[in-house]
Point group: C2
């Protein structure tokens, strides 16, 4: 790895940490220059524009997201256990400083246009698609009912994650995590293959 490449990697790591903690648009070139010990123009030469820097940050975020959430979940047996693992790791990821980078960034960019928004939407759609696929595997494994709509399950699971984000980070409700787990358990319970006839609870 050449000198330039490793400097670039170091910049990105710091830039992602700052962007995750304070939002993509609060990150300024000048501040990032200070934090990395480089000059503004020295830093600039690595990316060419603010927007290119933002896109690079989004890609760095995806890399770290896969590493923190997706990779460990893929080691868990497919079906409900893997889905639970995904949820658990995502929850941990979302408790980092600044919360989930993607949730924060989507709210920031939902009205804008440009390469940053495109990169964010692409990554997030991929992640939701993967969540739906993991749900489909749970159906195929017989853990979930055959007529379950994986896209609907993914929508609802993602919604719970968004609720967690708001209640934990913004409202700071003390029982937010309990509610999160209760909601996810209820979602999974409703998705399960119908239990053998018992008396209703």
């Amino acid at each position: 790895m050449s000198k330039g490449e490793q400097t670039r990697a170091a910049i990105l790591e710091r830039a992602f940490a700052l962007a995750a903690a304070g939002g993509l648009s609060t990150l300024s070139i000048g501040r990032l220059a200070d934090e990395t010990g480089l000059s503004k123009s020295g830093l600039y030469a690595h990316f060419g524009s603010r927007e290119a820097l933002e896109v690079a940050i989004v890609e760095e975020a995806s890399r770290q997201f896969v590493e923190a959430v997706w990779a460990p979940a893929l080691k868990i047996p497919r079906g409900e256990p893997r889905l639970r693992a995904i949820f658990r790791h995502w929850l941990a990821w979302g408790q980092r400083p600044g919360g989930c980078f993607f949730v924060a960034a989507s709210a920031e960019f939902d009205d804008r246009r440009g390469a940053t928004r495109d990169a964010l939407a692409r990554e997030q759609k991929a992640w939701i698609g993967a969540l739906a696929k993991a749900t489909r595997l749970a159906v195929e494994a017989g853990h979930f009912r055959p007529d379950l709509d994986p896209g609907q399950f993914a929508f609802e699971a993602y919604s719970i994650m968004l609720g967690t984000h708001l209640f934990v980070r913004f409202l700071r409700t003390s029982d937010a995590l309990d509610r999160t787990h209760a909601a996810f358990d209820a979602l999974v319970l409703a998705a399960r293959a119908p239990a053998p006839r018992r008396a209703a609870a």
Copy 2:
């Protein structure tokens, strides 16, 4: 209403529209001055500081939110019908330009401190509390099971609203509204008083 008061009201209406469409922090004094036809300092005299303007905008947003969502829902009979009305009107409110002001603003301010954040959190907690109360009334009316936790119901309903916001505004998934209604229907169904014994569907 004195001259100053009515100018202030006009400023706030315009300011809220701009803040709702583009986010609270993208709204700048200079731009607002242009849009209202006033000078920056003329505008400034009405609020005293940027933060005071933001707080006033939050209060204006609450006023409009009550008018658009809460007031009409209170005319509907309490219980499940009213809950459905709240959800319906909230959904319409969230389809205004810029989406739901509160959802957007909470994401913007979750890392910050100050009067604006406090005002936002206060209003939003009040609204979630009201949602929980409406749920409790549905329990008391016998529409929902007696052991239902209204706070949990409110958490999950709010989560669905957040999911809608993301899927409609950011991801722009075509079936987002269908998924929203399906999710809310499932939530209500699970909250209902247990149906008379039938064969499982």
